[in-house]
Structure formats: structure tokens, C-alpha cells
Symmetry: D2
Subunit: 346 residues, 4 copies
């Protein structure tokens, strides 16, 4: 059994991790921490866990020594010290926060306003988008679990970028997220009467996931990619739907079937990506509470534009599920161990 600790267990991503790991056949949770609920039993904070796990929130110092792997689900800026301590002790570290996602320190500085404290740790770290970096993840012990929006957008675009089918200047990602994406912290924007039965765009062209998305798309394209990314707050709990627009290069007279086949081929060893047949489109409910990413594709021949729609569960594939998938890879388990949940579409 892998001994796991969760730092920041009482946030939404943390709780989802707890839920998944309690049911994971190869894992034993040996410690959890929480700033807001230190000393409290997590099943008091999340009564859904009642009878499933009874464990008090301790401090990181109390739990790190017992763990083979530490997951951290913290606001940015708090993970580097934890990572350092894990590194010293030989504990695998999987960060659900943003601190290790950007390979360029300037990007981190520009978008998050902070410097890197331990550069050597960043060199050891690996961006954990499993379908793209599988082999590198297996060899790493410091994993930067991707952001929810970047997961949905990068998986949606990887095959056409890798195959150089599209104009990289034309990419627009219009994403719609459920409200759990903004976390458990109270805010007027997530106050029920303010977001129920209404939709809005927010942080247009200024969301911190922009540099992360562009980093991954650039790696896939082999050249610098800049995009427009617009997140929207949607009246639902879970799920991200990204509707991605890009122009097919003029000299690539491709057909929709060819593109779909290319996606299937690209993801053939990745069962968590489901490429839909022509005419089918994803809905966030079809991936709810699962690790799947559903991708549907439309080719508009009138404008020669590709519309790629990808759907994930932001808390699962977009956070805790992918973190467990990373853990499985690092520890040599089958990638889908403990993650074989069929979405509950209702």
C-alpha cells in the first residue's frame, strides 16, 4: 500500500482527493492537513465522508514522515517549501497548485507576482498532463498537476498542433466552468443567488491559466503560441466545457473524418480521452465525477475553421483524478487504478 498524505485536504480539490484515495485499492491515507480546520475531523467538515474516513487534520510536519507521497492542494506560493521537504525525505510530491506548472520563471513572476525560491526543484519537476508527458512523469518525483482549464484545452488541441494542421495565431478557447472551480472560499461571485440562473465571462484575456496553456501548446507546436482564452462562470457545480476555434492551414485540405481518425490515433493508448464520432458533441454531464476527457470535433467548411469541444470534470480530471493518475504513473501502477469510475450523468 502506498502511504499518502494530503496537504490542504479541506478545500474542494483536497476533499475530492480524499474521496478518491479512500476508495483506491493500493493507497492508504496516513495523514491530512488543513489550515482552516486544524485539529478537526474531516468528516465534520464534509459530512458526506461520515463513516468513510475518520481522520483529524494535522500539520504537514506531523504527516510528512509517514508518507510515500504528498499531495498539496493549496493556493499558489505555498508549495515550494513543502516540495523541498518532500524532496529531502524522498517523498513523491504532487502539487495541485500552480507553483511548479510554469517552466519559465519570468512567466510565473509576471502572472503570479512571485519569484521561484528553489530553482533546482523546478528543474526536477515535471508538468503532469498524463496523456502528453507519460514517460517523463514516470521518472519524476515532483509533479505539477495541470490546471483545469489547461487540461481541457491542451488535450483538445494536442493532435492538430503536433500534426501542424492549424494556424497557431488563430486559436481561441472559450471555456465554461462550474462554480466549484472557484473553490470553497466564500466570495460574492460564488454566492448562490449571484450565480444561479446566470452566466458571465470573467478575467477575459487575463486569467492566470493563459501562460500555462500557451506553454503546453507551444511545446506541442514547436513554436511560440499565443491564444485568446475566455473563462465563463456557469451555473453548475462541476465541469469544464472548452469550445476551441482555430483555422485549418490553407494548404491542408483535410476532411473531418481524417481529423477524427488523427485524434483517435493520437490518444489510442489513453483510455481517459474519448474521441467522439462525427456528429457527436461532449456535454459536461457525460464526464461528471470521472477522469474522462471527451472531445468532439466539427469542421466548418464555409470558414475553413475547426471547432473542437472538450469536456472534463474540473475537480476530477481537472484536479484530483489527474493527480491520482500521476501518482499511479510514478509508482508504476496501471494508470487507471482507482480511477475507473463511470460518469454519473444524472
Amino acid at each position: 500500500m502506498i502511504k499518502a498524505g494530503i496537504v490542504g485536504a479541506t478545500g474542494y480539490a483536497g476533499e475530492e482527493l480524499v474521496r478518491i484515495l479512500v476508495m483506491h485499492s493500493e493507497v492508504e491515507i496516513v495523514g491530512i492537513t488543513s489550515n482552516s480546520f486544524a485539529g478537526e475531523d474531516i468528516s465534520k467538515v464534509y459530512p458526506n465522508l461520515n463513516g468513510c474516513i475518520n481522520m483529524k487534520c494535522e500539520s504537514f510536519e506531523e504527516i510528512v514522515g509517514k508518507c510515500d507521497v504528498i499531495f498539496a492542494a493549496l493556493p499558489h506560493g505555498l508549495s515550494e517549501d513543502i516540495a523541498l521537504e518532500c524532496d529531502k525525505k524522498g517523498v513523491v510530491f504532487i502539487d495541485l497548485g500552480a507553483d511548479f506548472r510554469l517552466t519559465t520563471e519570468e512567466d510565473y513572476k509576471q502572472w503570479y507576482g512571485l519569484d521561484y525560491k528553489y530553482k533546482e526543484l523546478h528543474e526536477k519537476s515535471q508538468y503532469g498532463l498524463c496523456e502528453i508527458h507519460k514517460e517523463a512523469i514516470k521518472k519524476s518525483k515532483v509533479i505539477a498537476n495541470p490546471g483545469c482549464y489547461p487540461t481541457s484545452i491542451t488535450l483538445g488541441l494536442a493532435p492538430v498542433l503536433k500534426n501542424k494542421l492549424i494556424d497557431i495565431k488563430s486559436i481561441i478557447a472559450d471555456s465554461k466552468s462550474g462554480v466549484t472551480g472557484s473553490g470553497r472560499g466564500l466570495s460574492l461571485g460564488a454566492h448562490y443567488p449571484e450565480c444561479n440562473d446566470s452566466i458571465k465571462a470573467y478575467k477575459v484575456a487575463s486569467h492566470r491559466h493563459v501562460p500555462e496553456i500557451e506553454q503546453e501548446l507551444s511545446n506541442l507546436a514547436g513554436e511560440k503560441v499565443m491564444i485568446n482564452f475566455t473563462p465563463h462562470l456557469t451555473p453548475m457545480n462541476r465541469g469544464i466545457l472548452s469550445t476551441i476555434y482555430c483555422n485549418v492551414l490553407d494548404d491542408k485540405a483535410v476532411k473531418l473524418e481524417e481529423i477524427i481518425n488523427l485524434y483517435k490515433e493520437f490518444y489510442k493508448n489513453n483510455k481517459f480521452v474519448r474521441v467522439l464520432e462525427a456528429g457527436s458533441l461532449p456535454e459536461t454531464k457525460n464526464v461528471r465525477c470521472s477522469n474522462y476527457c471527451d472531445i468532439g470535433i466539427v469542421l466548418d467548411e464555409r470558414t475553413n475553421r475547426l471547432i473542437i469541444v472538450s469536456a472534463i470534470d474540473n475537480l476530477f480530471k481537472g484536479a484530483a483524478g489527474q493527480a491520482v493518475q500521476n501518482m499511479n504513473l510514478v509508482f508504476g501502477l496501471p494508470e487507471d487504478t482507482g480511477l475507473k469510475y463511470i460518469p454519473s450523468s444524472l
Copy 2:
């Protein structure tokens, strides 16, 4: 491996059964049927199942011979013939419909307008509220899986009725159900704009679950119980919350702690019932996509009335999950096999 067949697999309860059974370690689904989608692959009807099960809908005749157990999730009036055929072939039959729930034919006639076709089958059948009839269920091969409302109300009242603490004439059950309770069939009442952001009572004092609830409560009380039951349509997908009112008998000067302890004692061998501590109350989200029934209790000393609040997931503990629990009991498996889901409260 138990070979299971599902008749009526494309309704909401049927699909939930498919979902649970695909993930059940001791079961193999060998056949499914559907009236509306005969010949179609169920993953086309429910795209969430894509990649998890690929199986065409056949006819009952085609599948019955392959099965150790048949589940039926059909409108009332259609299960007796199926049960007869299962009985002949020695196949365990678990009915999610209403045809075998009422032990008195007159009740069935009065509330459902039909006669019993095969009375001997009804004598063999067992009402499958697992926490109340566990031993009898283990010995039966024709199981009437309880209705969703009756499950939540009977589990909420069983301990006080069994212990004769309350005035049986005073019982009122005010239940709130999610919209999946009305099924997949289209109706104006379940049309999104008609039920979103609104609540209503329906079938007040005339819902078909009344005789079923009264039957079970009467059995527990040892005398004829009549209740008021008011179902409400609530703008949510899953969940039933039953708020149950009853007067404590004047000569029973009980305290809340005593009552809670009595509930804990009553359900001590039933891990799917979670009796909450004083001061805590259930929410439907805390049992979502799980087989739990959460029960919270308040004693109003001003009026000497007990308010018992019980919460279940109508599709899980109120339908498919309990059906699998019944199957586990009949086949001698641990009761919670394939049902150890932690509720996803978000």
C-alpha cells in the same frame, strides 16, 4: 461471477443499475433490454457509458437464459410475466417496479387499478427493504425493491415505531424529491423551464407510494398505520429529503439523546444508515450517488413532537443501489459489495 440481466436498462433506474453493475467486482452483465431503444447500443443512448460498456439492447427472451439474476426497471403492470419466467428457470428476480411491493391485492387494485395475475408468485416474493427484512431477503428469489419515498420514510420511522414511542395517528411525511424521480419519459412537469428555480407539491394525499409506506409502517408498529404523505418536486437531479413529523406518546418522557441512541442501536449492523448526532441534519448532497440513508432527529419539547429528517439518493439507495444490495444478500455476498461509494457532495 454472477450473470446479470437488466430489463428496462435505458430508463434512469436501469441506467444507474448498469453503471453500478459494470463496476461491481462479482457481477458480469450478460444482457440488457429496452423497449424504446431495441437493437441500439446503450452507450449511444447514454454517452456517459461510452467506453465502459458496449452492449446492444436485446429482448427479454434473448437474455433470460443467460442470467443468474434479472433486474426489471419497468412501469408497473409489466413485471409479473417476467417474474414467472424467471421463477420457472430458477433465475433470481429483483423488481424495481411496484408490482410485488404490496402484500394485499386489494391495495394494488385500489391504487394501481390492476389485479394480480400470479398470486403464488406474490406469496413467494419478499419486500426488499434490506435494513428491515435482511434475513427474509436472503431466502427469497423474488424481491420487490422498495419505492424511493417508502425507503426514506420507513427507515426514518422504523426505530420509533418498533419501540412504540409515538402516536401512530400523528404521522406526517413531507418529502422533497429531485426530478429524476419522475423518470426519463418526457412531461411538461419535468421540462427544464417549468421546474427550474421553482418548487411545488404534487399528488398530495394521493401518491401511489402511500399504501406501500403504510404497509411497512403498520408491520413495524404491529397495528394499522395511516399517514399523510406529500411529495414535492424540487429543482435538483437526485435526492429525496423526507421531513417526518410525529407526536411522542404522552407517557414516554424521552430525551433526544435517548432517541438517537435508540436509532444507533437499531441500525448498528447496517452501515448504510448513518444516524447523525444531535444538532446535525441531513442534506441530500451528502448521500449523492451513494447507498447511504442519513437520518437526523430533532425533538421539539414545546409541542412534544419529533421531527425526523431522512435523506437518500432516489436513484441509488432509492432504486438501483438497493436492488444491488438485495442481490448481494440473495447471493450471499457481503451486503456492501460493489456499493462502497463515498457520496460526491459537490
Copy 3:
């Protein structure tokens, strides 16, 4: 034109008042106040008001001198000083808070933990449930606008209490409220992911509206009435549905039609109460954004119990709309002036 001021204009009830009064043909808003947004323009706080009203939040002192009527929408305990000042200046005072609702100081002390500061003001004040106290309201200048739950429950029970048809010990009110009922202040309970797609009971047998409801029911019955009242938080923005249970007295062999006629007669001069025909039941959407109270009645002959279902919009008839109705009465306007909104059921 009546010159109106609103104290606490940036809470939900306050903003609804602003919205209604801006559109009221006989009213001019001359001042608004806000603790949280002092000095800010209300259309910045509520962008829906953009272009409809541009007015900065001032202090009470700045606005009271300009007003014929002051509405206060404040947490309890803050209205008495405002009322005193209005009284001194001859300004009509309409309180949407709880400070003047209870005629017995002990009740206020017991349920709200505070003493009355100015007893003579309480003697001048009038409980403003318009359909019940119309003539008294017309003569008063200090109005206690009723709570949302008490409005829905008292209107639902008044005719049978006044006519002594029911056992006053048997009353149970099971109410379901939208989330705006808990106000604009942030709380985990009103955080979108916590209440979306879920329902719960809260403050069972301990909600502060209990003494207010019992006061009004007792007045109607002519004797002390005690009830059970259970509020529920329902995943919707607006609306209260109260499902009220009571036993018909054994010597009153009434028929449903008689009861419905009695309700129609009772409310014949009150167009905001719509008594539904037998077989019809209210839905909160049918009163949304309106001053209506819809009442539907079922008589269960099996148990001789009456089930009365009433629906209001908690922010409109349950707060701001009724406050304006009270103002109309005090100022001698037709009762429905500025309130003739047809509910937007969608």
C-alpha cells in the same frame, strides 16, 4: 409624489425595494443608505440598476429630513433608533426587519436576545400583514412588515382559524425557501456549490419566525396557538412554498368545496391572494417577482387532515412588495399601486 428613503438599500430586500419604487408612479426615491457601500452609487453595487437609478448611498441623517416615508431593511436590533427619529419628524416608518413584529417583549427577548428600547414606539406600531390588518395599517405610522415565512403561513391558515375549523394543536408548517432568503451576506450555507442541487432542513423548531407566526395565528384563533415550523433551504433564488398540515375538528364535517369557498370569501377584497380551484396547487414560479400569494387546498378524507399549500415570492410579497403595499395603505393610495406585476413564471 411620496418622497421615500431606503435604509439598508444594498441588501437583497433593499434592492428589491429600490427596483419597485423606481417603477412606482407615485413615489420618488430621495435617498438611500448602506453600511457596506457608503458613498458608492447603488448601480455599481447592482449593475442591473444601471441607467435606471443613479444615486449614492448616504447616511440616515442625511436623508431622513427629505423623506415622507423611510423603509428600513436591516438586521434586527438596528431599527428602533431609526423609528424614533422618524416618529419625531413625522416620517412614516416601515420596518422590513424584526424589531417591531412581536407585540410581547418577552418573546423578543427570548428569541432575539434583546430588550425593547422605546416601548411607546412599539405601542404605536402595527404588524403589517395587509390582508389581515388593513384598517389598522391605514391608521398607523410605524409598520412592522411581516417576515417572509410568517406571511406565507398566516395567509394560508387565517380562514380556517378565524372560522374555528381546525384543531389548533395539530398545526405543522413545512416551508421551503429560496436562497435569497438568507440575504446577501456570505456564508458557507449559501455558497453555490454547497446548496446547488441539494435540499436541507435548518433551524428545525428553533427559527426566529416561530413566535411571529404563533402570535398571528393566536390572534386569528382567539387562543394561544403553538405550531411546528420547519424551514428548508431549496436550490432556487426566490420563493417560499409552505405546506401546512392541520386536523379538521371532528364535529366539522366539511367538504373541500366549502373550504375553498370560505377562503375565497375571506379574501374576496384582497386581489393579491389567489385561492386556487380544487385540484390545482401552487408553484413558486407562478408568483415570481409579484405580490401574489397563491393558496391551494387538499382535504385528505382518510385522515381528516387539511393540507394547505401557499406560495409567495419571499423578496416581493414576503418583503419589499408587501412593504410598498403597506406604504400604499398608509398614504391612502389604491393598495396595488406600483405592484401590478404579472409573475414571470419562466
Copy 4:
């Protein structure tokens, strides 16, 4: 008083028209029709109208002679005969359907599969986007009320197209609509459990509003415009949010403030368009149940792309409200008569 008739009064747009016109000071509804509810009182079909209007559904033949204006809210293909009869009788005809929106018959044939029956009527007809065609509307008696998506997108783009600021090949409109947009007719897609808590794209690059949008954008640009348009079904009742992307022409080094001022100037005589200040973005709730169109603009200097977000209420400004606005223009009333509703954001 203008005597108005509504053909198709029991659909969602029809009922919204009834609601608005009952409250309109200059209009008397003299007749309504309904295919599905012929002979029934509309307040039985829509209980929210109870006590506000009592009127039976008649046939078109019965009502046309009494009317000064006929509104039709029908599926496409049914309006031409009605328009012809109105034209003969000198009755103003305002069509909420699609039959008169496209000025090119080939477009109608291609996207709707039908021919024009009465070409001369089409020549007389005027597209009724009030802010763009005000003077022409005043002179016409056959008005094609715009579609909901086209209204939101055209108003969002008109100022930059008219001023030739953008690359017309770069336009992408990603729209999110509430479920009332799909009407009152039952469908699995609008069944509550299927669309609650989930979002999806539909009819990508193939929605019938494409030619209507392109027609209006082309008129504004003075050259043929082709766009990508993706509608999404969002779990809410009302509202359309359109997020529109376009590239600023390289030789136009404009600043955000300039663009916002240009929008304000363009719409200065149109109070129903609210151009938001820099940093503010629309939310559908802020226009709910009102005739407003809110527009917010972001300029991404990294990509030189403009992101224009526009919000309307699909049933109000996107259907019934704009129809009444058109009626006001045709009959010489102030444009906002009967339409001065402040959005109810909650």
C-alpha cells in the same frame, strides 16, 4: 388604445408577449390563438396569469378583424398566410418567427428548406432590429422581429463593423443560451435531468441563425461577412450571453477607451443598449426580464483581438420585448412605452 392580437400565445414567446401587453398602458389585448390549447383559457395553461387576464384561445380568423396589430409567435413556415391576411385588412403584422427575416430567398431555402409564397410581402417587410433600423421600422407594417442570437450578436458588433475597425473574416460568436430558447415543446434535450448542472454546444456551424446574423453584419460592414457561430445550452431559464471575438485591423491602433466611446456614441439614442465601462462585463442576470442589451468590451493587446460580450434576455429583448418595441415604433409611441422594466437580477 392599440388593439392587439397574439397568434401562438401559449408558446414561451407568446406568453411573454401576453404578460408585457397586459401591463402596457396603450394596448388592449383583444384576441389570442393557440393550436395546442384551442378553446382553453390561457390562465389555465399559464397559472401565473391567473387573475391578470382571462381570455380564451380563439382562431386567427376570429381575432384578425378586431385587431390593429397582430403578433405571431409560430414555428417557421406558418406566418406568410397570416401576414397576407393582415396586409389585406391593413393590420400591422409583427412576426416573431423566421419567415420574414432573410431578405434573400435562397438563404431561406437553403437554411429552412422552404420557398417564399408571397414575394411582394417580403419586399414590404422590414427586419426589426430596432437600434439599427429604427426609421425604416416606423414606416413599415410587416415587421420581422429578429432572432434572439442575432439580436445579441448584431448589437455587439454593429459599431466596429460600421466603423470598419475589424477584420471581417475573423469573427467568431460563442453564445450561451438559457433553456427557454428551445421553447415549450418537449424534447429530451430540455428534459430537466438532462440539462440541469451541465452545459453543451449544439448545432455547431449549422444553426439557422447563421444566415440571419451574416445578413445583418454584412449590411453593417458593407461587404459579405461570414462568421462562426456556436450556440450552447446553459442550465438557466433565460438569457443569452454572446462572447464575440474579432481581430482589430492592423492599421487601426485603437485603444479600449476609444472603442468604448465609439459604442456609446453609436448607441447614444438607444437607452436599451447599455455600454459598460472598461473593466465591467455583462451577466445575463443583469438584464433578466428586461429589454436591455448590456455590452462589455475587452481589448487583448497581446493578440490584438477584441472580445465583445453582450447579454440579453432571450424572451424579452430577444423576442417579446423587442416585438413590443417594434410595435411602439410603428404606432408612433415612445420606444420604451410598456418596456421600462428594471431587470430583476435575483
